[in-house]
């Protein structure tokens, strides 16, 4: 069932090259608002590369070049007058390994809004972000304590709170649960389902069951090995999650889902 609403992201024939190495090619898909879209596929197929194009994090890699188009609410993200800093304020990112700043819990959340120019009292914003990240009850009296004293799962929820503190409309997650234990993972999956009411979420995951559990639509990537051993990622199939996992159109999708490879 396709939506007729305006997509949040509209990607057309996206390719990313690092120096001479073509990491990913010919990606075309769209991300709908208030949905969770999962990118799945074997290692090295470019899922993270594509994710990092959304918030221009690939700019940090000097040799990276992007071709094709990514539109965010209709605007070309790589247009000449686009300020990547502003882009990143509108999209939150959560990384594979929790990376809270070595500061207090409060300062971790407050940093983003502060550098975005938010003046005045941030107490309410900090509380709101922590509440939405399902962490408030656990840290409410301890905001002045170091963030690094939290457990792994708590740190990751803190990173989620930090990501949504700048009031983005998109949250990008790069294998957010891969370094967490199953219980922490479950908490974060529940959190994602709550968050999608207010945010659009794109998640890269190695965990197929996770994709099946939480996502609305799933994109299956794979990697082609070309002559010379060059491994370039491409999009195989992109559809509603239910379809991908029960009745995929492409054979290699079915092979991956059923564990025949990858």
């Amino acid at each position: 069932m396709s939506k007729s609403t305006e997509p949040v992201f509209d990607i057309d024939d996206l390719s990313v090259t690092y120096g001479d190495f073509r990491a990913v090619e010919g990606i075309t898909l769209d991300i709908q608002p208030n949905e969770i879209t999962a990118f799945i596929g074997p290692s090295g197929c470019g899922k993270t590369t594509v994710l990092r194009c959304f918030n221009r994090m690939n700019d940090l890699i000097e040799s990276a070049s992007v071709e094709g188009s990514i539109r965010y609410h209709g605007v070309d993200l790589y247009g000449p007058r686009i300020d990547p800093v502003e882009v990143r304020r509108r999209m939150g990112m959560v990384f594979q390994k929790p990376n809270p700043f070595p500061k207090t819990i409060y300062d971790n959340i407050a940093f983003g809004p502060r550098v975005a120019g938010h003046k005045g009292d941030l107490d309410d914003l900090v509380e709101e972000s922590l509440t939405r990240a399902a962490l408030w009850e656990e840290v409410r009296g301890k905001l002045a304590e170091p963030a690094l004293a939290l457990s792994g799962g708590q740190q990751q929820r803190l990173c989620i709170a930090r990501a949504i503190a700048t009031r983005p409309d998109v949250v990008l997650m790069d294998e957010p649960c891969s370094s967490l234990d199953p219980i922490a993972t479950l908490k974060i999956e529940e959190l994602m389902l709550e968050l999608k009411k207010d945010y659009t979420i794109v998640i890269v995951t190695h965990n197929m069951q996770q994709a099946a559990r939480v996502s609305d639509r799933t994109a299956f990537f794979t990697v082609d090995v070309r002559d010379g051993g060059v491994r370039t990622g491409r999009l195989v199939e992109f559809d509603d999650t239910g379809v991908i996992f029960t009745n995929p159109s492409v054979q290699s999708t079915e092979d991956y889902i059923t564990g025949r490879f990858g």
Partner: protein
């Protein structure tokens, strides 16, 4: 049935595990390494003890405060180190004022802003080379530029051989060291922190100012303070740039005039006193060395203290 080469009966296992094969080579190495350590320490301790012992007459007769506050003189009974003492302090202040901002700034640019091009790599390699250039070469550079070329500015009444020239020369000497240690401290900051900051929409500068610098601070402090220690001990460049070892008076000169006037420094004074024939000067030289060592000790202790304070503030 087991696949192992030994039987699994308790006595056999016990015997196999407690066999204590003799590691002759390992033991020999251990002894040799310990010997190296003892020889190195032994040399240092001998030197220390020798110096302190020679300096004892001075402490008995004069005491530390008297020695420091008395002016330089050719007469050993009245010789002190005053001009050399404050000269060294002013020189270190100059060195800090020049090398720290320039060095830290350059390192931040090289590590955080410069793109990884061939030019950048060449610059980095050359800075390392500069750190290894013998200090007397810096003295020649200082002589050519600060004394001869800019003599009118640095010391109009003394042909350019002023504290300013000395301070500028030492500043340039330690500049590469400050750049290298700062760059290393910056590189040690994990990139995950930078990504986290950039990810919430911080600019490069905001990331550096709020995250990278605070984490790199202990390393930067250590590097800068240790470079001061290096500048403190240099004699060769100062001798070229005009450090004198005889008595001179600044009288009632104002601050600027002091800076533009003649100067001395403790390592320079050691160089001079060590060659004087009178026996009293041997003791005085030793006493001066002891004071220098104490100053160096204080510098290093400050570095360690500041480093510990900052490290505690960063990690939990």
């Amino acid at each position: 049935m087991n696949a192992s080469a030994i039987s699994t009966a308790p006595e056999a296992v016990g015997r196999a595990l407690s066999s204590h094969r003799r590691d002759v080579r390992g033991s020999v190495f251990r002894v040799l390494l310990l010997g190296s350590l003892l020889v190195a320490i032994g040399i240092l301790v001998t030197l220390m003890v020798d110096i302190v012992a020679r300096s004892l007459p001075v402490w008995g007769d004069r005491g530390v405060v008297d020695l420091i506050s008395t002016e330089i003189s050719a007469d050993p009974a009245r010789a002190g180190i005053w001009q050399a003492f404050y000269g060294s302090l002013i020189l270190m202040a100059f060195t800090a004022a020049i090398a720290f901002p320039l060095g830290i700034g350059a390192a931040i640019y090289l590590e955080e802003y410069a793109r990884d091009t061939r030019t950048t790599r060449i610059i980095n390699a050359n800075i390392r080379n500069l750190a290894g250039v013998p200090s007397i070469v810096y003295g020649l550079l200082g002589l050519a530029i600060f004394v001869k070329l800019l003599g009118g500015l640095t010391g109009p009444n003394v042909e350019g051989r002023s504290i300013i020239s000395g301070g500028l020369t030492l500043g340039i000497l330690v500049l590469p060291i400050v750049i290298i240690t700062t760059a290393e401290a910056l590189r040690a900051v994990p990139s995950s922190i930078r990504e986290g900051a950039i990810g919430v929409g911080a600019t490069s500068w905001q990331t550096i100012r709020h995250h990278v610098l605070p984490i790199a601070a202990p390393g930067i402090f250590t590097g800068t303070i240790l470079s001061l220690g290096r500048a403190f001990g240099e004699a060769a460049p100062l001798l070229l740039v005009g450090g004198i070892t005889t008595f001179f008076s600044t009288g009632d000169a104002g601050f600027m005039e002091v800076l533009q006037g003649r100067f001395s420094a403790m390592p320079v004074l050691v160089f001079s006193w060590a060659r004087l024939p009178q026996a009293e000067f041997k003791a005085l030289t030793a006493a001066l060395i002891v004071i220098m060592l104490i100053v160096l000790l204080l510098i290093n202790a400050t570095a360690i203290y500041l480093r510990n304070r900052f490290e505690k503030g960063v990690t939990s």
